[in-house]
Amino acid sequence: MDRLALDVAHLFAGGLVLVSFMLLYQDRMTGLVNNFALHALVVSLAVAWQAHIQHAPHLYITAAIALGVKAIVIPLALHRIIVQLGIHRTIETVVGIGQTMLAGIGLVALSIIVMLPITAKAGTLAQQDLAFALSVLLLGLLMMISRRNAVSQVIGFMSIENGLILAATGAKGMPLVVEISVAFSILIALIVIGVFLFRIRERFDTVDIHALHEYRGEQP
């Protein structure tokens, strides 16, 4: 694998981790959705580059799906949902942003420590992509557990899927049908979640999860 190919792949994979951190740093709704669009854009670029160096044309389609659906359609839909629901624009976090970022760094270190010895026999490219993909996955989960707002949890969920795409393309040989089915299931999940958000908003006038807890009869 020549240096330039490796460096560019590293650029995109590292960039994806960086954008995941930017997602953690955001505390405004519109900024979050735009950041997610950037996340999807970077992942589509990464997949397109993989398609180029692995000479696997079907990955171009994966990249196009990621770009079209996740970088354009879904952010537009989310912007509309936010405006229609009238959700307030700041996102409350459970712990401070500084501590969340520190935890994020710890998770990246953990995934590198775990992944590098396991994939020692694979090529450098696969090693990097798998380590970073696990980081993106863990950062997405961290975002889901450290945010109180339902929309931000949806975005965390979808960033996890981006990490999985990175892992799958880096490991060489993901069939196209798997990608299409995964993408469609995510889309269906998003539509269902959007419908539910509307219903919850109608009933309870809020999508703050902590407030919803009271209606379950549990202590907050």
Partner: protein, 318 residues
């Protein structure tokens, strides 16, 4: 003979940074003004300010002590020495082995220590506000700076600025993402340390927005001239460090002819012009942050440094 030449280069650098620092500050102000569709002050206005201050009386508060009077000289001396040790147009500085980048940052820390003490000396609340905020910003910027230094040392195997510059120039470093992250982290730290927007406003005199200006509020006359000169030198120092480490092309190495040195000075001026323009554009495009958002800003710089190190570990292991 080589030592004499290196000594000459060192003296030339000391004179050059002292001469260029006010010009750079004037250039940044001019570009900011033009971006805001104003004429702005002339380029040489900072020189005129320093000379004007030198001619004026010093008005000393009744409660000021010798610390207040000695601080400007020490602040100026440490900042000038630190600026003289950063390779700007040549790497063969004869005293460059006296301090690596950690020592240079610590020299600036000495300057800041004396200035913060001077802020507390007169016993007014403005000085206190400046000193306490300055020490907060410094305490958050140092870990971020260390992580950037760690990343660079991991790549270049050295913390000596001349060696890092030589490494970046010579070897095929390639498109290292970690270097981009380290660059952004270093820029964020430089903005915080130099009291530029969004951390502090260098042109304000409102108490709510002051950090550096509040510490030097009681200074006047020749003391204030020295402190202003030191502030200009500090800004030039940070821009030179960024240029030397991340954009080292054009720096003359020891032993090349006079033509190479002159050309290197020209390249350095071009780098300064580009850096000044970007700084002015950035300051115009962004608003000043609340003081208690500064930890988030510097925390982000620290995270970028950490991330750069982690990413480097991954690539170097593979």
């Amino acid at each position: 003979m080589a030592v004499a030449l290196d000594l000459l280069v060192q003296i030339a650098q000391m004179v050059l940074v002292l001469a260029l620092a006010p010009l750079f500050a004037g250039y940044v102000r001019k570009v900011k003004a033009h971006l805001l569709r104003r004429q702005g002050p002339p380029l040489v206005q900072p020189y005129r300010e320093v000379l004007r201050l030198l001619r004026k009386d010093v008005v000393l508060a009744d409660s000021a002590s010798w610390v207040f009077r000695v601080s400007p000289y020490l602040v100026f001396a440490t900042t000038w020495v630190a600026a003289a040790l950063v390779p700007t147009f040549a790497t063969g500085l004869v005293f460059s082995y006296a301090a690596d980048v950690i020592a240079i940052v610590a020299l600036l820390g000495s300057a800041r220590f004396m200035l913060a003490l001077a802020g507390l000396d007169v016993g007014t609340s403005f000085g206190g506000i400046g000193s306490s905020r300055e020490m907060l910003i410094a305490s958050l910027a140092e870990p971020a700076m260390l992580m950037v230094v760690f990343t660079l040392s991991l790549l270049a195997g050295s913390t000596q600025l001349s060696s890092i510059a030589a490494f970046m120039q010579a070897s095929d470093v390639g498109l290292r993402f970690s270097l981009a992250l380290a660059l952004i982290g270093l820029i964020m730290v430089a903005i915080a340390e130099n009291a530029r927007i969004p951390i502090d406003n260098p042109a304000t005199h409102l108490e709510l927005t002051m950090v550096h200006e509040a510490m030097i509020l009681e200074y006047s006359g020749r003391h204030l001239a020295l402190i202003e000169a030191a502030a200009f030198l500090k800004l030039l120092l940070y821009v030179s460090v960024i240029a030397c480490v991340f954009f080292p092309w054009g720096i003359a190495t020891s032993g090349q002819g006079l033509v190479a040195y002159v050309a290197a000075v020209g390249v350095y001026l071009l780098k300064l012009a580009a850096g000044g323009f970007l700084l002015a554009a950035f300051e115009t495009a962004i608003a000043k942050m609340r003081v208690f958002r500064v930890p988030d800003f510097l925390g982000a710089a620290l995270m970028l440094g950490f991330l750069a190190t982690l990413l480097l570990f991954v690539t170097m292991a593979g």
